[in-house]
Amino acid sequence: MRIRLLPRTLLVVAALLMPPLVEATAAAQTPRALIETLGDKAIKSLTGNVPRAEREQRFQTLLRDGFDVEAIGRFTLGRYWRQATPEQQAEYLKLFERFIVQAYAARFAEYTGEQFRVTGERPDGDVVLVQSEIFKAGAPPTKVEWRVAHNSAPKIVDVVVEGVSMAVTQRSEFAAVIQRSGGSVDGLLAALRSKTSG
């Protein structure tokens, strides 16, 4: 599927006129359809000249709609999840979502007219791997794989860009922060708090 890109101004107008993103997609959906609609929406609503707060708001909506944020959060805390108290777990999940929104929403601002298409899918254990490409004429495409868990509704549990898994990356970074603060989850919570307070 190819997405023809509109001029920037038109894009912004279209994004502003778009109805809220949540309701429409909740019903029965295949993993592939989830990725197709999500990619479409991300390019329409997150790129171009959108104020930062607005972009983060929209990104958060897409994140909650398409991703299993709690499962990703648990995975990225790794073995420290079970060591954390319920209070620490709850605060961690809140900070984790905020951190992801801040760190990743901004990356859509640097978008320069690439197109997005789903190229295939294959089962991989208990998830479906949806393969896609971000491409631009005259340049090799960037390969993006989406790990989609399919329970009541399909939800993304990881995004792998050219072999780099976002979930593994965050788990590794968080583990380093925890280890450097003497194995304490509080060290990570403090770091996340100060990073997301800006």
């Binding site: 790794g78 951190f99 801040q102 760190a103 901004a106 990356r107 640097e110 005259g138 340049a139 090799p140 390969k143 050219e162 072999g163 780099v164 898994s165 593994v168 990356t169 788990r171 590794s172 970074e173 968080f174 583990a175 380093a176 922060v177 280890q179 450097r180 990570l188 770091a191 996340l192 990073k195």
Partner: protein, 251 residues
Amino acid sequence: MERTRQRMRTGLGRLATLACALALVALTATAAGAADPDDDADDPLEGLNRSLYDVNRVLDGLLLKPAAMVYRGVLPEEVRDGVRNVLDNLKGPVILANDLMQGESTRAGVTLKRFAVNSTVGMLGVRDAASAEGLYRHDEDFGQTLAVWGIGGGPYLFLPLLGPTNPRDVTGMLVDNFVIDPWGHMARATDNDWFSYTRFGLDVLDTRARNIEALDDIERNQIDPYAFIRTTSRQRRASEILNGRPASGAR
């Protein structure tokens, strides 16, 4: 006479470095073994690496980044793209040799065609005419060839200027540049060492200029940039070694 001696000395120096690096690889390759994929750190030299990371950040902030910003500010994009294309085209023979040593005949064919097209139609590599025909560039180096041959990376290293690497890949880089690369040999043989220095300098400068926003982003948005670069560079490298094919038994 003086020049010849000079050349021999640097040649010997390089050989010595190469020998040391090879010895280091041999030592560490056996020790590396199969790392637990869940052991995210696996960084026995972390203390040293973090110091070198800080050294690099200071040097980068004082010298390389400002130079890269000037480079990007002064030269128009078309010129910088031309420079990049020439540098990439010069890497053709090294990529081809490594494609072949890894038994990747299809990719070797692409590299060969790219080099032929870009060196002629592309005016000595200035224009990447091959990409316009769907012959996209891929990278390959002797570090990857060693990996394909079953040699482990050894301990993670963060080196100033080179960034995230390991003893195997440092060895690979030395072999690529001083053994395989034909242009380096030609430059040395004809007393045109300036060519190799200019090429190296431009490569570093252009690479840095293309990553200004990306690195700023990591420093600004991640909570432990060192750990972030460590894990992403390793995952990327593992994927490059497999030429983007899915790993068997991945998580």
